[in-house]
Symmetry: C2
Subunit: 139 residues, 2 copies
DNA sequence: TAGTCAAATGCAACGTTGTTGCAAAACATT
DNA sequence: AATGTTTTGCAACAACGTTGCATTTGACTA
């Protein structure tokens, strides 16, 4: 098991349960973002659907995961960098969604550019999702 | 009724039906983006849920509407500019979602900035959604 | 303007996705 | 090991979205 797992949970004042460990491990193993359905698949019948919903929700609240918007009603989740704390996300990196394999990547080193909005719009957060063909799917 | 409605439908080789006219009119009246649920509310019992789903789908395919991604599993739809044609969307403007009133705006005059992605990522489309507080909700 | 064909709609039924309340089980702490 | 708190699983439900098919509507032609 990944050494960071128990540590991450404790640091966020979460009790260390099987489902939380397994779900967190899944995110640490795979580098890509995961949807609820992906987790359900990869965990088999190990946990109840409801537990997965609640765990994801908890992780987002604690700043362990962040959500990635999509245009097809299938929100994905990915690990936050250490900068995120409870209630305060700072995931201002670009996301990339591959149209071929469906994988969603966090491009941690690509920051979201400044955008000049019309006067009166007070911006709190900016999500930038690029889509196209990822490295692995290039022929 | 808005004069552009029948024209838009015919230009896209769609038969002019009541539901299509009403739904298109709704988008022309309100400047903001609408979710399926919004349309269902505003059309009362006039059409079946299924008809709304199918109409939205058709409009997106034809390039009349485009979808706006969101982080909460509630895709919204908004009118495309004339540049969009069947199967080819060119909606590279910024979207703004108000956290207070929930309204989603197309900022047609704010274009999505260039983003330099790592080598190997072939970008097809970029969605940029800003969120915060809109003009009307500023106190 | 009526007749014909193709397309769109409404209905019913179904599957998926997400939520809530509550009892049982697991965890943290002493 | 005992206690109180948190988390889980189950059941039931609500919302969301899809599909097939009969009926209706719209487009087109004569």
């Amino acid at each position: 098991m990944h050494p960071r797992i128990v540590d991450t949970l404790k640091r966020n004042q979460l009790s260390v349960t099987d489902s939380r460990k397994k779900i967190l491990e899944l995110f640490l193993q795979r580098k890509a973002a995961l949807a609820h359905a992906d987790i359900e698949l990869h965990s088999g019948d190990e946990f109840d659907r409801v537990t997965i919903y609640r765990t994801l929700q908890t992780f987002v609240e604690k700043g362990i995961l962040h959500t990635i918007p999509s245009a097809d009603n299938s929100v994905k989740y990915a690990l936050c960098k250490d900068a995120c704390t409870e209630g305060h996300h700072h995931d201002n990196h670009v996301h990339f969604m591959c149209d071929t394999c469906g994988t969603t990547y966090c491009l941690d080193h690509v920051t979201v550019p400044q955008v000049q909005l019309p006067i009166g719009y007070q911006v709190q957060q900016i999500d930038l999702v690029a889509s196209g063909i990822c490295i692995k799917c290039q022929k």
